[in-house]
């Protein structure tokens, strides 16, 4: 068969077409998966979606730590159209001239500018050609240094560094998501409804037991005291003894390397503030009576070759006076009625020598040596608060047992944890570690501690209207190398129970080497300053229904507040050289100037008409129910909540209940209620 030229061309074309079809079939059927994957790689890009770290709130809902999105600016100089305009825009947002020059240098391909900006602040800049934003999430740290020490920080890579941030990183961190974007040429990458998206899971919200108002008060009082007394540092712990909630925790050091919450990490010898626990053990076991007298040898007593001295020189003192005047001689002799094993057990039961369990990464257990390691002097030293190291939190918790009727509680720092849908996933509850003393003993101890403030070593803390109990302590400071004690350096402290009858707060103030040394004249006034500010505050720091002071005719405590202290140190807590010393080492220390602020003069009384209730009906004591605002427009809902006495914060779109906490929840007046702004 002869094939014409035309047929030949046709055959070639047909053959070509068949080959094309075959190849097409091969590619589309046989190699389908491979080419699909290749096309997908070319057309799409996978991006991580970082999870927003959870917020940290205080007990009343005030935001302490939050995250926000910022932009970093990169510039591709070769893409710029108007260099002068870009340079002007960069200068407007605060970019330094050196970087402006780099950003407009055509010899460079890519310039990363320092600094992070709010996108709205640099909107004009971002609209320019050649400017490439990089979105980053910044963790906004707490406003005050004390809170930063406690809560920790997050580094630039988003890793928690220290504090609550590190301890609760698992809850706060959330889970990153991922998304697949479709490349769209100069339009960048776009989302596509066909592409799979794994949304990020935001971190959980952690609500602490801290009260920001109290925290501010404590931090300021501590800073003022350190400045006024030239101290090296100090700590303040404010605790609710009813449930163990830490309400404020302030730490401050002159050393720049001390950045942690030293109230949790730095143990110290507590001195006389430890005496109440030995005393309570003696009363609890029936080994001593409050009215019982004991010789105190006019302030000098030798035991096992060691001379113990009292600042308050008396021939004899009752058990109550031993506490009131902080007699070392008295407590040492009383403590001899306890066996070393019992004495160790008492201190161990009070929680000393072990961590409290507060969620903080580097909490110190302190130090309490077991009985076999004791020397002959140890029982006497321990009775006076030496040869033991406690953290301020441990000591505050132990005083909490005296305040609440004898129960040692676990500390609470986290009140609750909520997930992204505002569901509570953890809520703290009151947890009793053990009973430290009977209720009767705790009541007796509260009375003895009130006498310390009203006529003992801590009159500088005395309040005019309300009663305060407490114990001061002054202990020699160990040297930094741990070898012996530093000459003339003391740790002054005071632990107060307020109000003395039914305490709502335990306040521990510790000052490192203040001028004036004695805890009763340096640390006690700080407690008073904290309490005065807390009483004057109207932000829920104290439960007013539990403050039943005398009728509004305050006793003339002007002298008690200042005069007594300024004139003379008066009775001060016993200071003793721990081992081998021969006299009251506190002798010669000048009396401290009490930390006081100028007070306004008395004003004429103001009359209020009490006939008209100032609170809405249905208020139970200081608690009130959150009203149901379901279905109301946002503006009306805010009005209803305000009228009910709550503060309102609008949050983003909410699909859950109409308010958080939900309607019907009992909250104190002034508490923060969150309301979704678009419901």
């Amino acid at each position: 068969m002869r094939v014409s030229r035309t047929q030949g061309v046709h055959l070639v074309l047909v053959g070509f077409a068949l080959a094309l079809i075959a190849r097409s079939g091969w590619v589309q059927l046989r190699q389908r998966a491979r080419w699909q994957a290749e096309a997908r790689d070319q057309q799409t890009v996978e991006r991580a979606m970082p999870a927003v770290r959870g917020r940290i709130l205080d007990a009343s809902g005030v935001v302490l730590v939050d995250s926000r999105e910022l932009v970093r600016i990169d510039v591709a100089p070769t893409e710029i159209r108007d260099r002068a305009a870009l340079a002007a825009a960069l200068r407007r947002v605060g970019v330094l001239d050196a970087f402006v020059q780099r950003a407009t240098d055509l010899g460079r391909k890519w310039v990363e500018l320092p600094g992070q900006h709010l996108a709205t602040d640099v909107a004009d800049l971002l609209a320019m050609r050649g400017v490439h934003p990089r979105r980053v999430i910044e963790r906004v740290p707490p406003a005050t240094a004390g809170l930063r020490n406690l809560l920790g920080v997050v580094d630039r890579e988003g890793r928690a560094v220290g504090g609550v941030e590190a301890a609760l990183d698992g809850a706060l961190r959330g889970r990153d998501g991922r998304t697949v974007l479709v490349r769209a040429g100069r339009n960048g990458a776009l989302t596509s409804p066909e592409e799979r998206v794994e949304p990020p899971v935001p971190g959980r919200t952690v609500v602490l037991t801290l009260h920001q108002g109290l925290q501010d008060i404590a931090e300021r009082a501590l800073a003022d005291a350190i400045a006024a007394l030239g101290a090296r540092g100090g700590d303040v712990v404010v605790l609710d003894p009813r449930d163990g909630a830490i309400r404020a925790l302030a730490s401050r050091r002159a050393r720049p390397d001390a950045t942690g919450a030293t109230a949790l990490t730095e143990p110290y010898e507590p001195g006389s503030t430890l005496k109440p626990f030995v005393a309570a053990a003696l009363l609890d076991r029936g080994l001593a009576r409050v009215e019982e007298s004991i010789p105190t040898y006019n302030g000098r007593f030798t035991l096992n070759g060691r001379t113990i001295a009292d600042v308050h020189e008396a021939p004899s003192l009752t058990f109550a006076e031993v506490m009131q005047y902080s007699s070392n001689i008295g407590i040492v002799q009383f403590a001899q009625r306890l066996s070393p094993r019992d004495q160790y057990g008492v201190l161990r039961d009070a929680g000393f020598g072990m961590v409290t369990g507060v969620p903080y990464p580097s909490e110190s257990p302190g130090r309490l040596r077991p009985v076999p390691e004791w020397s002959l002097q140890s029982p006497a030293s321990l009775a006076m608060g030496y040869e033991i190291a406690v953290t301020p939190l441990q000591l505050a918790l132990a005083y909490g047992a005296i305040a609440n009727g004898g129960e040692l509680l676990e500390p609470q720092l986290v009140r609750e944890i909520r997930d992204a849908e505002d569901r509570v996933t953890f809520r703290a509850s009151r947890r009793v570690v053990r009973r430290l003393m009977s209720e009767a003993t705790a009541r007796t101890m509260r009375g003895l501690l009130r006498d310390v403030v009203e006529g003992g070593t801590a009159t500088a803390a005395d309040l005019a209207v309300y009663s305060l109990g407490g114990k001061s302590g002054t202990a020699r400071r160990t040297r930094d190398d741990g070898r012996g004690y530093e000459a003339g350096a003391y740790t002054a402290s005071f632990v107060g129970l307020f109000p003395a009858e039914e305490p709502q707060l335990v306040i521990l103030v510790k000052l490192d080497d203040p001028k004036g040394a004695y805890g009763g004249v340096t640390a006690a006034p700080v407690t008073k300053a904290v309490l005065a500010a807390a009483i004057a505050a109207r932000d829920g720091a104290l439960d007013p229904s539990g403050l039943r002071g005398p009728p509004p005719t305050p006793r003339p405590a002007g002298e008690a507040e200042a005069g007594k202290v300024a004139a003379s140190p008066g009775p001060v807590d016993g200071v003793v050289a721990p081992s081998g010393a021969t006299g009251p080492v506190g002798a010669g220390v000048p009396p401290a100037a009490p930390v006081r602020r100028s007070e306004p003069p008395e004003r004429p009384p103001v009359t209020f008409d009490l006939a008209r209730p100032s609170r809405p009906e249905g208020v139970v004591d200081s608690l009130r129910a959150v009203p149901d605002v379901t279905g109301l427009p946002t503006r009306a809902a805010v009005r209803v909540l305000h009228a009910a006495g709550f503060r309102v914060v609008l949050v983003g779109v909410g699909a859950g209940p109409s308010t958080s906490p939900a309607a019907g929840t009992l909250l104190p007046g002034g508490a923060l209620v969150r309301l979704p702004s678009a419901r």
């Binding site: 926000r68 406003a143 300021r220 602020r597 609170r615």
Partner: protein, 95 residues
């Protein structure tokens, strides 16, 4: 209608369908771009809101205000003897 007319119709149909596909795709890309810009705007505004809330919190915090009112207005924290907590009247008070 035969031959060239059918081919013409076929080509026309192809052009119409192709134009429709391209138009639909262009609209989709434009909407996706708008969506992306709105998301970015929303994120920026949320960040600004967070920054402003933080600034308000900081400015209205006790730590900031207390010093300011003391220095500028001469106000002081009153001692507790000057703070009188008023008793809440009983429900039938004043009747």
């Amino acid at each position: 209608m035969r031959g060239r007319s059918l081919v013409l119709l076929g080509l026309l149909a192809f052009v119409v369908v192709a134009a429709g596909v391209i138009w639909r795709r262009s609209v989709g890309v434009a909407q996706a771009r708008t969506l992306r810009e709105l998301r970015e705007t929303r994120g920026s505004l949320a960040a600004t809101e967070a920054a402003l809330e933080g600034a308000i919190r900081d400015a209205s915090s006790r730590a900031r205000l207390a010093r300011t009112v003391e220095e500028r207005l001469g106000m002081r924290i009153p001692p507790e003897s000057l703070v009188i907590r008023l008793p809440r009247p009983t429900p039938d008070a004043g009747r």
